[in-house]
């Protein structure tokens, strides 16, 4: 049995694809994730996470040939699959249930 939940990093990767318009390759994803997290993000980690989620059918990918104007080499573009979307929303719902009624308190304590 595969694990139902998604790790933090996996969620971040999936959400980044959605933020980048639903389909993206690793470079803009790493840039976007570094901006959002404020930390260096490992491209290898992103790539491996994507391939792993592809095995689980949470994303789908395709190779894009080099174009005269843009990229010099092939790139692998990833899209979030319907199953992936569903899993993301499930994760969000689960976390929301935990956060319910705690927002003000958590803010109070961090201050």
């Amino acid at each position: 049995m595969a694990r139902r939940g998604l790790g933090d990093f996996e969620q971040q990767v999936l959400l980044t694809i959605l933020r980048l318009g639903g389909e993206a390759y690793s470079v803009p994803m790493v840039v976007e994730m570094e901006e959002r997290t404020g930390r260096e993000v490992s491209q290898a980690a992103v790539y491996i996470a994507l391939r792993r989620m592809e095995d689980k059918k949470l994303v789908v990918s395709r190779m894009v040939e080099p174009t005269a104007s843009g990229n010099a080499k092939e790139r692998r573009y990833f899209k979030v699959s319907p199953a992936g979307l569903e899993r993301l929303e499930e994760c969000r719902r689960t976390m929301d249930r935990f956060w319910e009624g705690l927002d003000s308190r958590a803010e109070g304590e961090t201050r």
Binding site: V31, S42, Q43, A44, A45, R52, A72, E74, R75, R76
Partner: protein, 879 residues
Amino acid sequence: MSAAPRVPVWVRWAMNRFLSAREVASTLGELQELHAYWTESVGQREADRRFRRQVRQYPFRLLLRAGRGVANVRPWASLRSLKQSTRSLVRTPGLTAAIVLTVGIGIGGCATIFAVVDVLFLKGLPYPDADRLVWIHSASPTSQWALSAVDVQALDAQQTSFEALGTYTRSASTLVTDDGAERLVYIEAAPGLFATLGIQLLSGREAARAEGDVDADPTVVITRGFAARYFDIIEADGSQALGETVRIGATSYQVIGVLPSNFGPLASGTEVFTTLRMEPPPRKGPFGYITVGRIRADVMPDVALAELRAISTRIFPLWVDSFQDDSVSWGMQNLDEVLNRDAGRLLAILMGAVGGLLLVATANAANLLLARVAGRRPEMVLRQALGATRAQIAGHLLVESVLLSLGGVAVGLLVAVGGLRILPAVASSYLPRLSELRLEGSVMLFACALTAACCFLFGVVPALRGSRAGSRVDGLGGGRSVTGGASEQRAQRLLVAGQLALVLPLLTGGALLLTSFANLQDTDAGFDVERLLSLRVSLSDQAFPDGEARQQFWAMALERIEALPGVEAAAVSLGRPPNGGFNNNFDLEDKPTPENQSQPTAQWIIAEKRYFDVLGVPLVAGRMFESTDLDEDAPPVVLVDEAWADRHFPGASAVGRRFVDGGQVNEPLTTVVGVVGTVPYEGLGESGAGAVYRADARRLSSPFLMIRVLGDQAPVVALVREELRQLDPTAPITDVASGETLLSDSLTRPRHLSLLLGTFATIALGLAVVGLYGIMANSVERRRAEIAIRLALGGSPRGVQRLMVRQGMLVAAVGVLVGAVLSVSVTGVLADLLYEVEPADPLTLVAAAALMLVVALAACLVPSRRAAQAEPRAALGAQ
């Protein structure tokens, strides 16, 4: 845009193991694109740093991912592949057994030696806080020896750095039992020895300080085992023995304490510890007391050492009459180092040999599995096409190597169990503390870890290769690929060359040890070994209290023994070649030892005149002992051997030279009256410092009786026993040995080492040759069509054969070349073990290399002949 740093070769190699070439190119391309972005955002240096770090992460992350995939293989699938793998292994029983056996022997051998390493170097001594225990000794710039009574008493009175001191000396006498007497080797221990070592008595107590006084009543501490034997005591703590009496020689000792049966490595096997009652010493020597100190927890070792030296310097002037060597001071050494002797190097050699064998066996297994994987390529491609993931296929292939490893570890543990049993019996003459060996958790763990490592080595590479099958379109084609693609061939050749490279140092080392062993056997023992019989007779102090009484006994005994049928001559001596002498120092009258230097030493043997006849040692110069030499008021005289004479008076006569014996400056000088042939007393082939012979052997209480027999030894032993029994029914007879036995015992270590290394080298060579034969046969199979075409176009069979042999011999040559470099760099560790052969002996190396090449040639010839004899039509038809 600046270029990204180069991708390291190993990263690229590793990525290629897991990803298709296309995937690798696109992944690295994207990373380079990121580098360009980083260069703009964070600068060139930081961008380079990030690129390097991230690119290095790929191999590990990919490996982890593959591993997770393997772990996720469904149970039923792995059960099925278990069945398949077992079946495929059973189909080739010979090879499977060879791998399991050789890997098992390697693992078991390594585990056995690890157990010794564990005892000697990892676990420490079995005494509490053993790191604070030191041996306190006399030390000159060149050597170390025990303390004297003077030293022990001064140390005890003046030191402040040690919380406890224990002193002992070894003694031998006769133990009086109900049935008669037996020879007893025991320890005289000063009060405090057990407390210093932290040994708890089972019952009773250790001797109090006052019991160490010279006029105190004799007391003794015995082990539980001795109590059981001597007093028939069965209770666990042996307390029934307390207060009983043990009779040793002429003295009765009262038992005051019982020790556990295992005293530990310091006096392993000793069962009786009498209380040492030290007499006030009249002079500085002799140096016979072994002193162990426990350094106080709050004192640094160098402080303790400084104090030792200070006390030694302080007492030096008090005893300068009897000891003048002011280069001698006191030193100390950790007790475990003392007890471990030079075992480290020997263990390194053994571990190297058995580890080398294991590596060769592992490489052989890898080779076999690689060939198997290559053969199963179509199956793998099919599996992948039907939806099996790479991880599943790799996992399936791994099962086979896991099965082989399980077999290996089973054999290995058996070998280890056997090794740990046999080792103490055969090797205790050259490896210390073997009685402490146990098959413990740590040893099992080591064996298992080693197995896992082997399994990884011979399993993972073939598994990864096999699971890459899908990227090869030709996979399903069958035929050609059955024998493996070019890259498999390359890997196999590399493995075989590697095996041969590992075999050569083993072979060279084995050959060197064998040569050295043969040299030792051929070496002139210096005495007539054949028809020589020797035994030790121990007279009790009670029956023969002084030298006079013993002299009478020996005169009568020797006369009667020489009259026995089958006896040619007999004599007594203290010291027995080739391993049985005692050291003494002396100071030559003609060459006095300069200040700050140590006096020379030599083997000191006590032997009567007849001894030289019995052993067949010739008188070379001067005269033999005469009966007047033994008179009370006769000046002290000695004989020396040629080694001694050459060492101290090269090119001149040693006869008539005089020296001070053992620092006794107040005694008359000792004169050399004759020179005899050299006999070794420090081991065969040891270039000893020579020997000095004193004449008064018949005054000894437990000398060796050396007998030259006329024919068979066995009946003579019985007759001599009977004769001695009539003269003294209580005198125990021990250490019976023929001249051949004495020599052969002396060669135990070289014999075992050369046998072991020779055997390992032979097995390893066999394995490597099987590997070479395998790739040759594969290659012939693969190039069948090519060969057929060559032959059909008029190529000569001989030419084809030459082509094939050249290919195989290239692999062998590379292996031998690398092996030669390896040999030259590792055989140096054998230097101290070799006799009359250099570690880098070119002849041995060339001979070993030649042997390997010849065997390799034979392994190439068979398949290549088959290739040359192929019928072109049939060969092409098969394609």
